[in-house]
Symmetry: C2
Subunit: 417 residues, 2 copies
């Protein structure tokens, strides 16, 4: 198979399908989504059997337990995927929404209409559920999708794609609205990210090295998420009980997620009141603590190295630093953080405002757990990813991040003078 020809054909088909999808009605799109959900549930046995092939191959190829776990598709998992697709059907359709219509002095009436981006390429590792999640979000937002999953999930992905096509077939939308790259050849990825004539945006979902590789080679925009080095800063005026509870949750609710706190910053003025009990809470949960010298003086623990301040542990490890006031905390966050999600614990009105204004992150919070930075918690219904870029979409990206706007003008014969 000639990979370039193969990918060009996929691209051309996606571009054609995107023109149809862009003007599909809400009813058409929802009907297709519900049909896809039904097809997934109806084919549960087939999906689980195909997934079993990937699991067996994975064991032969020495995938570790965590990877096998991400790869595994159970009957309950299929139901959960189908439920996710139905939830996307229930979301409001962003396409065609018109905002800010207003008259201009010339007499024209100007507004903005929301439109799809066109064709979205999704590149992801192991988790086969991404196939259906991503396809559903793209379909609802009027975009055609080309999906490229990891080779370790190829049977699962093909099977899910089959269900999606079955679902589409029962509607009048093109079955090429969602296409799965059927080859595991790596050159296919190289081509997918470098054909702006067919693909408008790439969304990589996976580990840092995958995302870095794709960003490096992409010739189209990439909606991406690199690190999640999130901070909680406990201000001198913080409510202690609230801070213990929130900082506990931010670190220990889940360890391997991008919105988990990785560094705790504490104002020197409150450190001796706050830190000992906080450290006890973490230790009781088996969290390894690494502190700056002043932290270690209050509560003996491992010494943090310079590297700790810029490390995303994704593990039961927490770096702790005492800072002299909020300016130092903000400086630390903007320097060492990853512009993902950072929170302040404070009872001070002016400090809350300043922290919100000056911390340069996609989510900035007051008196809340960083764990809330999430598409579901933010009411986006679902998310295609979390963007740590500032361009186009920032933070959790839902349907709106997969859209653009166009200006529309209503006139009555106006001409430019």
């Amino acid at each position: 198979m000639n990979i370039t020809d193969y990918m060009n054909n996929l691209g051309q088909a996606a571009r054609s399908a995107s023109r149809v999808l862009a003007v599909a009605t809400t009813a058409q799109k929802n009907k297709a989504l519900l049909a896809i959900a039904d097809a997934l549930v109806a084919k549960t046995d087939f999906l689980v059997a195909e997934n079993e092939k990937d699991l067996i191959a994975g064991k032969v190829n020495g995938l570790d337990d965590a990877m096998l776990d991400r790869l595994r598709l159970t009957p309950a998992g299929v139901v959960s995927i189908a439920t996710g697709v139905r939830q996307v059907a229930a979301l409001p359709d962003p396409i065609g929404e018109i905002k800010d219509m207003a008259y201009r002095p010339s007499g024209i009436q100007l507004g903005k209409m929301r439109v799809p981006l066109g064709v979205v390429g999704i590149i992801y590792e192991s988790r086969p559920n991404v196939t259906a999640d991503a396809a559903a979000l793209c379909l609802k937002s009027g975009n055609a999708t080309i999906l490229r999953g990891g080779s370790e999930a190829i049977h699962s992905n093909r099977a899910i794609a089959q269900c999606i096509i079955d679902g589409l077939r029962s509607t009048d939308l093109p079955t090429t609205a969602v296409q799965v790259v059927e080859t595991t050849d790596r050159d296919a990825v190289g081509r997918l990210i470098a054909m702006p004539e067919f693909v408008d945006v790439i969304v990589p979902r996976g580990g840092k090295s995958l995302i870095a590789r794709i960003s490096e080679g992409a010739r189209v925009p990439v909606i991406k998420h690199l690190d999640g080095i999130c901070h909680s800063y406990v201000d001198a005026t913080a409510d202690l009980a609230l801070s213990w509870r929130v900082c506990d949750n931010a670190k220990t609710h889940r360890y391997g997620v991008c919105n988990a706190m990785e560094t705790l910053l504490v104002d020197a003025a409150i450190a001796s009141a706050f830190l000992p009990k906080m450290a006890d809470i973490y230790r009781a949960k088996g969290v390894e603590l690494r502190g700056c010298p002043r932290t270690c003086a209050i509560s003996p623990m491992l010494a943090a190295s310079e590297e700790d301040w810029s490390t995303e542990y994704l593990a039961p490890i927490l770096a702790i630093k005492i800072v002299d006031g909020m300016d130092a905390a903000i400086e630390h966050i903007n320097t060492y953080g990853s512009h993902h999600t950072d929170a302040i614990m404070t009872q001070d009105y002016a400090k809350a405002r300043q922290f919100l204004a000056q911390v340069d992150s996609s989510s900035v919070m007051v008196n809340a757990s960083t764990r809330f930075a999430d598409g579901f918690e933010y009411g986006l219904g679902a998310e295609i990813g979390i963007s740590t870029d500032k361009f186009h979409a920032r933070g959790p990206v839902g349907l709106e991040g997969l859209t653009s706007q166009k200006y529309i003008v209503f006139g009555q014969g106006q001409i430019r003078q």
Copy 2:
């Protein structure tokens, strides 16, 4: 001079300045803009004298009259530049604007705050007024700017930059908020567009070849504008008098601009009633007409070639095609157009809605001249360019296109369950 070191230094200084600008108050930014305007007017003689050096060099180097004209800075031109800067000062400050605050079921209150992009690189040709325009827009939107003008305007650009720095010096904002690349070495451009650590977005302003070259080599997002192949479509139900007036304006108001109509599409049902008088209007103004065979049969003119449908003339030339109904018109526009600005003349409600929904352009209009697609006419106050991309900003780009948003969360101790 080592270009890489030089550009890295500029980049580092811009990145530092951007942190200060991001949290500058509206009053600080406006004060700086007014000081810059005053400095420009106060130094009119200096600016005109420096510009004279570029004009003399330009003549020696064989620049044509049109280029010399774009390059020329008169005392009146300086006043107009200063007025533009004062108008930007008068615009509302987009930074810090908070929208869509709402409570989520978890109890957190979520909204979006508008923030600057960071550092904007502007690459432009000849017109020295871009130096001040672009710097003003970037400053107001809290971004640091690195400006790289054409070598043919180097003295003018340096002189304007001097006024900008004088203006900044009278405030407490860093003078590195606006920097001009002082070398004409082409490698400086290559470096400017490939240092994501210092520059967040590039805005090229100039001819197609400049923009294509920059898009090709850029390692950061580019807000760009390629072609302006704009259409007016005269539907079967169009008001004839309105259509003659609007289509005349769209073509003949100005020829060398991106929002001028380049192709006129006419429904076959109205062609014989509409075309003869329309052709007379154009001929009276010296517009060369190139028609499809059916057009030529109604009003004899040059035969259009296939190439004409995808040509941006920027000149008193117009291609005319008769189509069978609106679907054919939309198909033609989406195929041959440049997704810039397209208009329909119609009295039919359903057709107006369908045209707005289906034409895939950054501005879509009903019964209005394509010439309205412009930052000033749209009320953006000024524009840094017109984007024909769908990603991030689309259509005329003003202050908002130079910004991003971050999520902000107000909590009262909420934790994720």
